[in-house]
């Protein structure tokens, strides 16, 4: 996660041109005036909610006994909370399996589109991107119906082909089924990021490669992939954040598979359950903060690693 900070305008003036102290401070204030609309909105919509969550996480409200300050007790509880860690483990597994598959497919499609050998390029581009335009809730509902082992697509396949496919909504399969939905939704989106990055590679590089006698695979490995490394890293970071925030799909599918998807299936779903079913707003805030920190650390580590060799 890139931390964007406004450039320090006041300090940047060239040494020889720097005006006397009074003028400098006046200009300083004018700068704040220009920045303030942004800062006010930024404070209201970003800093205040985070600050409020931190504040909430230091208290505990009980049905009996009211609200009291508990310091870091909630954090201590979160670190020993089996349900929280099992949810985190689940999205971690999801991240390790689903994200590479999704990005791999997206990359393949982008390279195929970019190869210029594909007939009906814009048609494929649009149709692969189309699922991204379907809201996640609708997509989950749609797939939920298809997953139905009694009346859905799976049932029809089993009936007509005399197969016995496993129930996609059984506890052992439901995470994979969710992965399938998410892959379907986001392959097009990632494909578009990669494709856009591929299009800006100067044609002269390809011409040079051809003169040197490089084949297509060589061009991909030596030119295309290094050139879109930035796009790959960005897509990976987005996907990591998306995985850790998994919520819509399990929450919709829960109504179809109430026993396979627990109330702590993913960390986000867990905070939702804590807050809305258990009235444990304080603990929910704590879990959300811990989760935010974990996401930040992992995403930042991936970004550092991904960008290292580039400079």
């Amino acid at each position: 996660m890139a931390v964007i900070s406004p450039p320090g305008i006041g300090k940047r003036s060239a040494p020889g041109l720097s005006p006397p102290g009074r003028a400098a401070s006046r200009r300083h204030w004018a700068g704040w005036g220009f920045v303030s609309p942004f800062l006010i909105v930024f404070a209201l919509v970003f800093l205040a909610p985070i600050g409020y969550s931190v504040y909430l996480s230091l208290y505990r409200s009980q049905l009996i006994g009211g609200t009291r300050f508990v310091g870091l007790d909630n954090y201590q509880q979160a670190f020993g909370d089996h349900e929280f860690w099992s949810g985190l483990g689940r999205v971690g597994l999801f991240l390790l399996v689903q994200v590479p598959v999704m990005l791999g497919v997206a990359l393949l499609v982008a390279l195929a589109l970019d190869s210029g050998r594909l007939y009906g390029r814009s048609f494929f581009r649009i149709s692969i991107f189309l699922p991204y335009a379907v809201p996640a809730v609708v997509a989950s509902l749609m797939w939920g119906f298809m997953y139905g082992k009694r009346f859905g697509l799976v049932a029809s396949i089993n009936e007509h082909l005399h197969t016995s496919l496993p129930d996609p909504l059984a506890p052992g399969w439901v995470l994979a089924s969710i992965g399938n939905i998410v892959t379907w939704e986001f392959v097009g989106y990632n494909m578009l990021i990669f494709y856009a990055a591929l299009r800006v590679i100067p044609g002269s590089l390809y011409e040079a490669a051809e003169i040197d006698g490089a084949g297509q695979w060589r061009i991909i490995a030596a030119i295309k992939l290094p050139a879109i490394r930035g796009a790959l890293v960005i897509a990976t970071v987005f996907s990591i954040i998306g995985s850790f925030q998994l919520f819509n799909e399990p929450s919709i599918l829960k109504s179809l598979a109430p026993n396979a998807i627990t109330t702590y299936f993913t960390p986000n779903y867990y905070t939702y359950s804590l807050s809305f079913a258990g009235q444990q707003h304080n603990y929910a805030a704590t879990v959300a903060i811990v989760m935010g920190l974990v996401t930040m650390v992992v995403a930042y580590a991936v970004q550092l690693r991904g960008m290292r060799k580039e400079v």
């Binding site: 049905l63 009996i64 139905g148 179809l256 026993n259 079913a277 009235q279």
Partner: protein, 445 residues
């Protein structure tokens, strides 16, 4: 999702087309408006007029509000749908916490009422004469609004349980209508053997139904005494009776894995693949609107018994109307409660398809004689009314049942999809309920 899950708790939410029930023929044996409270404040509040806000999602209340305002032109009732079930409770709890925007009256389901009573968010209605209404309501709902020696709401409707069964299926396979749960299990086996696509019922783990059946079996897993709470499914005789029948139903795959209130579920009720349904008496309206195609196939029967020859029943679902402590005009709020839950409002709601909690209506001949065209002309209210009388006394829900029910599928639900037994599942539900109770400051004994 929440809506669908909660619909079972919200009798009458799909009741709009209740005229089809033929309940319009109901007589007026109601309790009338001379309901015997001597709280002068209520009478003078009505005379003086004013404005109150009511939070409720039950559709038949709209008519009640219209009638009420017509009768007392000086009173204005602001009826707000703040969400169904859980959504409304969350909003209500937030409003109480903020001390702002709290309604005067709120619809609260029986299983959730003690949570609000304990949190002191709802008013004890005893000073208004509510204590004297014991005879007015059937025992189940009355017991549910009596918490710690106070009366924290007036019963609005009720859900005495009955067994709905698809007669066509039972006739086809020559199955006897079960009078005991052992016989029910027997029918389940025979039916599924005769037609592998047909199941005796659908169940994917339903906290409301499980607790209701344990209640009917005489179980008392929850004991509440003020803030002293105990949870004990292990060693509870009623729970043991329940698992003895339900475990084989699960292990032998005799239960359809279709989630209640889903499209598949309605389809199953219609095509005979779900042959019975043990639920509250508010169900008929859902049949007429949701399973139109099977009109004439279904009948109602008394709930099967855990011991042969007994007559025990339990409640499933139903709501009360409560007066909020932070509300402004309590006397006027109570006047509305009286009208809606005890006076002329009850009749209007029965006409709308709701199932009453008032004994006068439950016993009225016109009500009992109502023929249900959907059930082939059966006078099903006779069964429901008897069930209301047979509800076992002494049951109580946890003061945080809303939360407990939300984790039912995390714990007991495992028994439906893995090797975990129902007994182990209930034990882990118990443990988690105890943990939560401790965290919330209850004295867990």
């Amino acid at each position: 999702m929440t809506n669908k899950l909660l619909r079972r708790w919200a009798p009458g939410i799909a009741v709009a087309a209740a005229a089809a029930l033929g309940l319009t023929a109901c007589g007026s044996g109601g309790s009338g408006s001379d309901s015997g409270t001597d709280a002068d404040a209520v009478t003078s509040a009505l005379a003086k007029g004013g404005s109150i806000t009511v939070w409720a999602w039950e559709p038949t209340l709209k008519q009640v509000v219209t009638d009420f305002q017509a009768k007392y032109p000086k009173v204005h009732v602001n009826l707000v749908n703040a969400g169904t079930g859980n959504d409304q409770y969350t909003a209500l709890q937030n409003a109480v916490g903020a001390g702002k925007g709290v309604p005067d009256v709120a619809q609260i389901e029986y299983f959730a009422l003690s949570q609000f009573a304990l949190g002191k968010s709802v008013t004890d209605l005893s000073p208004y004469g509510a204590k004297d209404l014991a005879k007015t309501y059937s025992p189940g709902p009355w017991n549910a609004v009596n918490i710690d020696g106070g009366v924290y709401g007036l019963p609005m409707d009720s859900g005495p349980m009955a067994l709905f069964y698809n007669k066509k299926v039972f006739d086809k396979y020559h199955l006897p209508v079960p009078t005991t749960w052992d016989q029910y299990l027997d029918d389940a086996r025979k039916l599924h053997q005769a037609d592998p696509k047909a199941y005796i019922t659908s169940d994917t783990g339903d906290a409301g139904m499980t607790t209701s059946l344990i209640w009917q079996a005489g179980g008392k897993p929850y004991a509440i005494d003020g803030t002293k709470v105990s949870v004990g499914f292990d060693g509870d005789a009623g729970t043991a009776a329940f698992t003895k029948v339900w475990q084989p139903l699960i292990s032998e795959h005799l239960l359809s894995p279709v989630v209640p209130w889903s499209d598949q579920w309605y389809k199953g009720l219609g095509d005979g693949t779900i042959a019975t349904l043990a639920t509250g008496a508010w169900m008929p309206a859902n049949f007429t609107t949701g399973v139109k195609g099977a009109s004439g196939d279904w009948r109602a029967a008394p709930l099967p018994q855990w011991k042969d020859g007994q007559h025990a029943s339990a409640e499933n679902g139903g709501s009360s109307l409560a007066v909020m402590k932070a509300g402004g005009n309590k006397a006027l709020a109570y006047a509305f409660l009286q009208y809606a839950a005890q006076g002329a409002g009850v009749q209007a709601r029965i006409k709308g398809g709701a199932f009453p909690a008032t004994t006068a209506d439950l016993d009225s001949q016109a009500f009992l004689d109502t023929a249900f065209p959907y059930f082939g002309g059966q006078q099903a209210n006779k069964i429901f009314s008897q069930s209301a009388k047979d509800v076992l006394p002494g049951w109580s829900y946890l003061p945080y049942q809303v939360y407990a029910n939300s984790i039912f599928n995390d714990t007991v639900g495992k028994a439906y999809v893995s090797g975990t037994t129902l007994t182990d599942g209930l034990k882990s539900w118990q443990d988690k309920s105890v943990d939560y109770g401790k965290q919330q400051g209850f004295n867990i004994g």
